[in-house]
């Protein structure tokens, strides 16, 4: 890069200090948080009797904590994390095991540990820890990136925590882990042939899990998980709970029309829409604010992902590029699967919509991940600035 051809514009704060974070990414982040708080404010008024703003206030508090963490992480050089990779990976596995040991069961799945004021969902934080650790392990093998051994090691490192969370059962987070794995390898340059082989393996695994093993009497997935995964294929014929959820979600989004139903949003207000503050929050946006509202939120996500990809191209080192790639994939995958679920083109997997769905673990993790992206961005700018000097 040459300073003469690419003038770098620095953003400065009130004291004249240079702000090297990406303002557009910050804008998208704050926009999504604002949308989340506003939507929860209208949709959850009647969810807790006598406490109409319960979810709104809590989400705002989580976002506040998350934003503070985001700014702290943004000021810190992410490269140091690489040295802590073993510790990070140990924390990842340890937290998940801790949930097995001390977690409480909600709606048939043991995902969280009860802390004062807060239920800590280890698999959410795990998404970020996995990105950090996996990228570091990949950098260690920077000269043997195309080796089969590298690929198998990486797969093993990601599949262990993925299987652990799927067993909780939290299928959604497990799939996010696998998406992160694929993205890190993809950015690192793993050969296409490896991906093809892994794809073949995955296909075999799916056939075994969904068809062969049940036929042989071994249920790998719980029946409800299987229903959720397949109900979206024909919601009209399926009368189970999953098809009900999909139909109610489609009805909610469809009835929103161009500009939404506002206070007449009966699907949300009368509880026809299940989980409307968490997994199906996008359906609420679709119903209350219509195509316009849904498009606005999607645009904020598009902006966020664009800035994340741009950060990926700017990263000052290989580690930064891999971390940015993993985080980008983590965001993209969650947005696509969650929104796809609400509009009936993806199975129900219990993946939250980043920053918008209610939930402290998810919001704080996502903001920390964005903080890391900002750190990569800031470091890249600093390096560029240093070079200019």
């Amino acid at each position: 890069m040459h300073a003469a051809t690419t003038p770098v514009k620095d953003f400065r704060d009130a004291h004249g200090r240079v702000l090297r974070i990406d303002p557009l990414m910050l804008l998208a982040t704050l926009g999504l948080i604002a949308a989340s708080i506003y939507v929860l404010g209208t949709a959850t008024q009647d969810d807790r009797v006598g406490d109409p703003n319960y979810f709104t206030y809590r989400q705002a508090a989580y976002a506040g904590v998350g934003l503070v963490l985001m700014f702290l992480i943004a000021r810190f050089d992410y490269s140091r994390l690489r040295e802590w990779k073993l510790g990070v990976y140990a924390v990842l596995i340890g937290a998940i095991l801790l949930v097995y040991a001390f977690g409480f069961t909600a709606r048939g799945s043991q995902r969280s540990i009860a802390l004062p004021f807060f239920n800590f969902q280890a698999s959410e934080l795990g998404k970020l820890l996995l990105v950090v650790a996996l990228a570091a392990f990949m950098v260690d093998r920077v000269r043997r990136l195309t080796d089969r051994e590298t690929t198998s090691r990486m797969v093993l490192l990601a599949v262990v925590p993925a299987m652990l969370v799927i067993g909780q059962p939290d299928l959604g987070s497990g799939l996010v882990y696998l998406a992160i794995l694929v993205a890190v390898m993809f950015i690192a340059g793993t050969p296409w042939t490896h991906f093809a082989a892994l794809g073949g393996l995955a296909a075999v695994a799916i056939v075994v899990v969904l068809i062969a093993a049940p036929a042989g009497g071994v249920e790998v997935l719980k029946p409800y998980q299987k229903d959720r995964l397949t109900a979206f294929l024909n919601p009209g014929e399926n009368s189970g709970r999953e098809a009900y959820q999909i139909n109610q979600s489609l009805t909610a989004i469809g009835s929103g029309g161009k500009t939404g139903r506002g206070d007449e949003a009966t699907q949300t207000k009368l509880d026809f829409l299940p989980e409307h503050h968490t997994d199906f929050v996008f359906s609420v946006i679709g119903e209350e604010f219509g195509f316009v509202g849904a498009a606005l939120v999607l645009s904020l996500f598009a902006l966020l992902i664009w800035r994340a990809l741009r950060t990926l191209t700017m990263a000052k080192n290989f580690y930064g590029a891999l971390v940015a790639g993993g985080i980008t994939a983590m965001l993209m995958f969650q947005v696509f699967v969650n929104v796809g679920m609400t509009i009936g083109i993806m199975p129900i997997t219990g993946i939250p919509l980043p920053l918008v769905s209610y939930g402290g673990s998810s919001v704080i993790t996502t903001l920390m991940a964005i903080g890391l992206l900002q750190s990569i961005h800031a470091q890249a700018r600093e390096t560029a600035a240093v070079k200019r000097l």
Binding site: A252, G254, S255, G256, K258, F272, A302, V335
Partner: protein, 620 residues
């Protein structure tokens, strides 16, 4: 590609390509989502709005209360009372059988019912009438309803419903007339009369309720309400109030009806009466003994209870003897014989006939009660003292071509339905050669018609079957100069405040030609019977301030006590009312039925009676 982590080269073409792939994937993903959203929200939005509305908006039928029934003075006879019943909505019950059973068990414990039977009843009702809400229990205590409403999550699909039930404030008074109401049956729904009725609506099943159902039935209202996903009502959007049915005013006089039933109840326990205006056919009282309390039919009745109400041993309380029974009427029938003989020219009012106390017809002997000879009499005297032999001779002489007795009996309404505005009445039977010979051919009787049958019929014995209502109409036809009336109970359709909406037309009467001479002679004879010395009921009406013309009757039954009859016309000589009374085991007419008639007449004509009315002992 990076060769070392810490060296920062420009983007290698491979990395740039891979990032481009990810960017392309993101672009494709957003494109798919946007197209899908466009399709859902912009292209098919209206369909989904409709789906969302049908999700949350329910239409609840509000059953209209039926119109009330009042007597001619506006006194209530049949009213409504509000009650709450517990119903289940099948599509809101839990889908799983085990969960449903939990709800049934809870409900059964709460309502003190057997859970198995409760479940069977629900499934049976649904089989018969799909898409309805089966009733679990009617007339439930308010506190029970509140309990269910406060715990809807424990009782999904269980809902209370306000119901209007019939209330009969006077209990047994008029019980046989009103009939019952009930949910419309699938067969009835096919009937044109019920074209505006929907499944689950309440309609009249019998009696006045059935006859005047189209007026009494109201117009159901509807409430559009918003419910949430758990079926809980959140808001009422629109309310079309139910319109109560019209009020029906009957010609019945509550006071007369009550006194008549009391009078009958003071007899031997089985009997009937009919009180009618002789000019227009308005019924002032009509009833049967034994009676029952119609309030028992407002709730599901037990089999045992129903069996008791139809038991022969207990006198079949549900039977309305005034128009569903058939009896020989004894001497009260002589009026018909007299009209037939006078109008067919067999006698004139002054034709003398001899009564030696008995009459030989062929080798068969017919005699007066106790063989009392009355000497030579004309018609008036014969009616006054109730000479059987006089009428035997007329019966014997009228057994001729054309059968004038049968012809006149038919004209006066004997052996045919009266056409009263009640759904169930029996025609009875006027004995005739055609009837007896056809029954003989079928092996139902042991011999063919003979002149003796006509002799027996002429005094209301033998095979004659008639009821008090028919006798009242025949007597009224003489009193009013030849109009055979169609009796009626319904007078007027009114709004809830008693303002007339529609007068029910008086039904047309059949005209028969009866000369004034005939009428006057017969009335004079009947007046004598109640007033002249030697009149069969003269002692009974002693001291009664209003002149009465009346005929006693004693119908003989083999192996059973005699049946007592009395038919009165008052006031003489221009009668306004006819009163026909019978007591199935009351003995002589003067003994039981005549005093009952006097009590009824006293109430009807506003006569203050002092002391007990003594029954006469004269045979007739």
């Amino acid at each position: 590609m990076y060769l070392d982590n810490e060296r920062r080269p420009t983007l290698t073409p491979q990395l740039a390509f891979r990032i481009a792939v990810i960017g392309g994937a993101a672009l494709a993903m957003f494109a798919v989502i946007f197209f899908r959203l466009w399709y859902l929200q912009v292209l098919s939005g209206d369909n989904y709005v409709a789906a969302a509305k049908s999700n949350s908006v329910r239409e609840i039928k509000v059953l209209a209360p039926r119109g009330e029934i009042v007597d001619r003075h506006g006194l209530p006879l049949v009213e409504n009372r509000n009650s709450l019943s517990i119903k289940v909505t099948p599509d809101k019950l839990p889908a799983r059988r085990a969960d449903r059973e939990v709800v049934y068990r809870r409900l059964a414990r709460l309502l003190n019912l057997n859970p198995g039977r409760l479940e069977r009843r629900v499934s049976r009702e649904l089989e018969l009438l799909p898409y309805t809400k089966p009733t679990i229990k009617q007339d439930v205590d308010r506190r029970v309803v509140a309990y269910v409403l406060e715990r809807q999550e424990q009782f999904p699909g269980v809902e209370p419903e306000r119901e209007s039930l019939r209330l009969y404030p006077h209990g047994q008074v008029g019980a046989h007339l009103f009939g019952q109401v009930g949910e419309v049956s699938p067969e009835e729904l096919k009937d044109e009369r019920f074209s505006e009725v929907q499944m689950g609506d309440i309609v009249g099943k019998a009696g006045i309720e059935k006859e005047y159902d189209r007026f009494l039935r109201g117009k159901n209202g509807a409430a559009r309400v918003r419910v949430d996903a758990f079926g809980k009502l959140t808001k009422t959007l629109k309310r079309d109030p139910a319109e109560q049915g019209k009020q029906l005013r009957l010609s019945l006089d509550l006071g007369v009806q009550r006194v008549a039933q009391q009078a009958l109840a003071g007899g031997t326990g089985k009997g009937a009466f009919a009180v009618m205006n002789v000019q227009n056919g308005e019924m002032l009282a009509l009833g049967s003994q034994p009676s029952f309390d119609p309030n028992v039919f407002t709730k599901p009745i037990t089999k045992k209870h129903l069996a008791a109400l139809t038991s022969k041993d207990l006198g079949e309380p549900l039977l309305n003897r005034a128009l569903q029974a058939g009896y020989p009427t004894g001497s009260t029938f002589k009026l018909v014989t007299a009209v037939a003989a006078l109008e067919s020219g067999h006698i004139t009012p002054s034709t003398p006939l001899s009564d030696p106390g008995f009459l030989m017809v062929g080798d068969q002997e017919f005699e007066n009660a106790s063989r009392t000879p009355h000497g030579v009499l004309s018609l008036v005297q014969a009616l006054t003292v109730s000479s059987d032999v006089f009428f035997y001779q007329l019966g014997r002489d009228m057994d001729e071509k054309g059968m004038p007795l049968q012809q006149w009996a038919h004209r006066l309404g004997i052996g045919r339905r009266t056409g009263i505005d009640l759904p169930a009445e029996e025609p009875g039977r006027m004995p005739s050669p055609e009837w007896r010979n056809s029954w003989y051919k079928q092996g139902l009787v042991d011999r063919t018609w003979s002149v003796g049958d006509n002799v027996n019929t002429s005094v209301g014995q033998g095979d004659l079957l008639a009821n008090p209502l028919q006798m009242a109409i025949a007597y009224a036809a003489i009193a009013n100069g030849g109009r055979v009336l169609r009796p009626r109970l319904g007078l007027r359709i009114e709004d809830a405040n008693g303002r007339a909406r529609q007068d029910l037309d008086a039904p047309t009467a059949r005209r028969v030609k009866i000369s004034k001479e005939t009428r006057d002679a017969i009335l004079e004879g009947l007046y004598g019977a109640a007033n002249a010395p030697g009149g069969t009921s003269t002692p009974v009406f002693a001291g009664f301030p209003i002149p009465v013309a009346g005929k006693t009757g004693t119908a003989e039954h083999t192996g059973r006590p005699d049946q007592s009859w009395y038919v009165a016309l008052a006031p003489y000589p221009n009668p306004k009312y006819v009163v026909a009374v019978t007591d199935e085991a009351g003995g002589f007419g003067a003994e039981t039925a005549a005093p009952m008639a006097r009590r009824i007449l006293a109430e009807l004509l506003d006569v203050k009676e002092t002391g007990l009315v003594q029954g006469g002992v004269a045979p007739d």
